[in-house]
């Protein structure tokens, strides 16, 4: 099975410093700041694969490097080292990092969608809900107004955005509704890979639950490969089958989601699960 997304040896160091500064950081040293240079080793040696129809969770506390990994994959940040491959790009034969920034950005149109925690990052709040979807469609070359309207309506319906709000500016929407529009936009061109970064964090509990339901349904139906980044076991448990645990920029454990929850191996995972499960 060709993975839809494959990440190998991804690393990201902020600030001064080189790969030499990786020594002395990580879970074993309980720090991400290099003692020699002060560089921040936000992520190191991160590898995983996600297949079509599969959802991989990335769990960890804030500062564990999980969001850094996501931003490196989608191109919001440039990793220090490692490779990222998509089955939809050259059959996985090309490291995305070797692509030009322009081609890299173009992948976001229909190959690699991102749903951010903050809808303002993924949406233009000044535009209508339909307009946000239209941006993706026009970027993919759609030039027929009627069909763009139709497709946007379908997506609104699919993401439970009332059709009579489709032409209202997203700025006037509640947080949960914005998140639904962000999902509609992300899915506009049927991307084979979707990254979700804390997609329900910050929403009221009941709203978060319904958005979570929606995401679960969409992932099940669309057969996309998903990476779900979250600090919340409830989210990870509901959406993913496999999970990696990040701590101080490293993956400390990888396994099946139910296995991590019931039989965590690494001391840090046990602590994390223990804390979450009370």
């Amino acid at each position: 099975m060709t993975p839809a997304l494959r990440v190998d040896g991804l690393g990201k160091i902020y600030g001064p410093g080189t790969t030499a500064d990786v020594a002395g950081t990580g879970p074993g040293f309980n720090r991400v700041v290099s003692p020699t240079s002060g560089g921040i080793v936000a992520a190191w040696d991160v590898s995983f694969e996600v297949g079509p129809g599969e959802a991989l969770g990335v769990i960890g506390e804030s500062g564990s490097g999980k969001s850094t990994v996501m931003r490196c994959i989608c191109g919001d940040e440039e990793p220090t080292t490692g490779s990222i491959r998509l089955a939809s790009v050259d059959g996985g034969g090309t490291d995305l990092r070797t692509l030009s920034p322009a081609r890299r950005r173009a992948l976001r149109v229909d190959r690699l969608a991102v749903v951010y925690q903050d809808p303002a990052e993924g949406l233009d709040l000044r535009l209508s809900a339909g307009g946000n979807v239209a941006e993706r469609l026009t970027a993919a070359g759609w030039r027929n107004f009627g069909r763009i309207r139709e497709r946007a309506s379908e997506l609104m319906l699919r993401t439970d955005v009332p059709l009579d709000r489709m032409d209202d500016p997203v700025r006037e929407f509640s947080g949960g509704m914005r998140q639904r529009v962000q999902l509609a936009k992300a899915l506009a061109n049927n991307p084979p890979v979707v990254l979700l970064d804390e997609p329900t964090t910050g929403l009221d509990a009941s709203v978060a639950a319904s958005v979570l339901d929606l995401i679960r349904d969409l992932l099940e139906e669309l057969g996309v490969a998903a990476v779900v980044v979250s600090h919340d076991f409830a989210v990870i448990e509901m959406l993913t089958q496999r999970v990696v645990v990040m701590h101080h920029g490293r993956i400390v454990e990888a396994g099946l989601t139910d296995q991590l929850l019931e039989d965590p191996q690494h001391p840090y995972s046990q602590r994390l699960v223990g804390a979450a499960r009370g």
Partner: protein, 396 residues
């Protein structure tokens, strides 16, 4: 006869031009001599040279007189005049350490290396409108001028800048020696950008940004500075001036045959070094940031704004669009020209605007008859819903 005589416009502008010329000559006053401007309206003349980007006191005075005192107009005349001149050579970058101070203050310290030289400044003159008798003033001026001619060594204006080399060390040198200053010197921009030769845009480099500020409209720069202190930009926090100097700067070119530097002359310039107490989360709080301002003529207001904005520019990390604001919106000629172009005829564009308003109304009326919004969301049936998501169309 056509509906509009093809010569109508020409005649009108010729008449307006003649009216301006005659009114200028016929004013009920004596002819304004150039030295009146260069000697008695020093700040005005300096400002026009600074914003006009040309050091030529006599030409600036002509421009001010021709523009009837409109600073922007006068700066425009200077710049347009310069456009007609071929570029013969380029100056060797001036060394600000060679500036012979006529005035020098260091607010940051009580005792500094070298003098605190107050010099010719309005700072501490009482802001009381002089309502003295005109005839007495005229007589006093004539007497002072005659006395100065007899005894030049007593002239306070001449003696104000009695400093001779070696010139006082800068405060910044002291800060650098004690490792208290962030080092902003850089080597990726060795040859200063000549902004009259390139179209500047964000990312162009510090020398170009500094040049733009040096030529900017004084009020625009002061306003941008104030926005950063009180307004939304907020990149300035606690600025102290390290050095304010006004003095004479030698200007040199390389001799075309020998290659040796040759002194062309001097221009007066105002130089400011500003010090910022860094307080950002990602900044080195153990050091000061420094900013630099240098403008032609005596214009401390502008030089201070420039030095402060230089700091603000490295503090905003190109995030806030401040660089674009400095580069694109502070030029007096650009802003005023565009503003004033609104006085030109715009009836073609206005007609097009009215036509669209009517089109919108027609569309609205049509939809109201049908009782719907402009483009109602298409009805999607449940069957279509099922097929909708997987069956997206992608056109190349």
């Amino acid at each position: 006869m056509g509906y509009v005589a093809a010569r109508g416009g020409t005649e009108a502008i010729a008449a307006a031009e003649e009216l301006v010329r005659r009114s200028r000559l016929n004013a009920d006053a004596s002819w304004l001599e150039l030295d009146q401007l260069t000697e008695r309206l020093r700040y005005l003349n300096d400002r026009v040279m600074g914003e006009g980007g040309l050091w030529a006191p006599q030409l600036a005075a002509r421009a001010i007189r021709q523009a009837e005192g409109d600073v922007i107009e006068a700066a425009h005349l200077l710049r347009a005049h310069r456009s007609t001149l071929p570029r013969l050579c380029e100056l060797i970058p001036a060394d600000a350490d060679e500036l012979r101070p006529l005035r020098r203050i260091v607010p940051a310290f009580r005792e500094v290396p070298g003098p605190q030289l107050l010099g010719r400044t309005l700072d501490y003159t009482g802001r009381l409108l002089d309502l003295g008798d005109e005839d007495q003033a005229r007589a006093a001026a004539a007497a002072a001028t005659a006395a100065a001619a007899r005894h030049p060594e007593d002239d306070p204006a001449e003696n104000a800048g009695a400093t001779e080399p070696p010139f006082p060390e800068r405060l910044l040198d002291v800060l650098r020696r004690t490792d208290l200053a962030v080092d902003r010197r850089r080597d990726d921009d060795p040859e200063p950008t000549d902004i009259s030769q390139v179209a500047v845009r964000p990312g162009i480099g510090r020398s170009a940004v500094l040049s733009v500020m040096a030529r900017a409209e004084t009020g625009a720069l002061v306003n941008l500075w104030y926005r950063n202190i009180l307004g939304p930009d907020n990149h300035l926090h606690e600025v102290t001036l390290g050095e304010v100097r006004h003095g004479e700067l030698p200007i040199r070119v390389r001799h075309p045959r020998t290659g040796n530097p040759v002194l062309l002359g001097h221009l007066r310039a105002t130089e400011v070094e500003a010090i910022e107490d860094l307080d950002g989360a990602d900044e080195d709080r153990t050091r000061f940031d420094v900013g630099y301002g240098l403008v032609a003529g005596h214009n401390e207001r502008k030089a201070i704004a420039m030095a402060n904005l230089d700091i603000a520019l490295h503090r905003d990390h190109s995030d806030s669009g401040l660089e674009q604001s400095v580069l694109m919106t502070t030029d007096g000629l650009d802003a005023s020209g565009f503003l004033e172009h609104l006085k030109l005829p715009h009836y073609v564009t206005f007609r097009s605007m009215i036509e669209r308003k009517q089109a919108m109304r027609t569309d609205r009326a049509r939809n109201e008859r049908k009782g719907r919004r402009h483009h109602p969301a298409p009805v999607v049936t449940p069957a279509a819903e099922q097929a909708a998501v997987p069956a997206g169309e992608v056109t190349p």
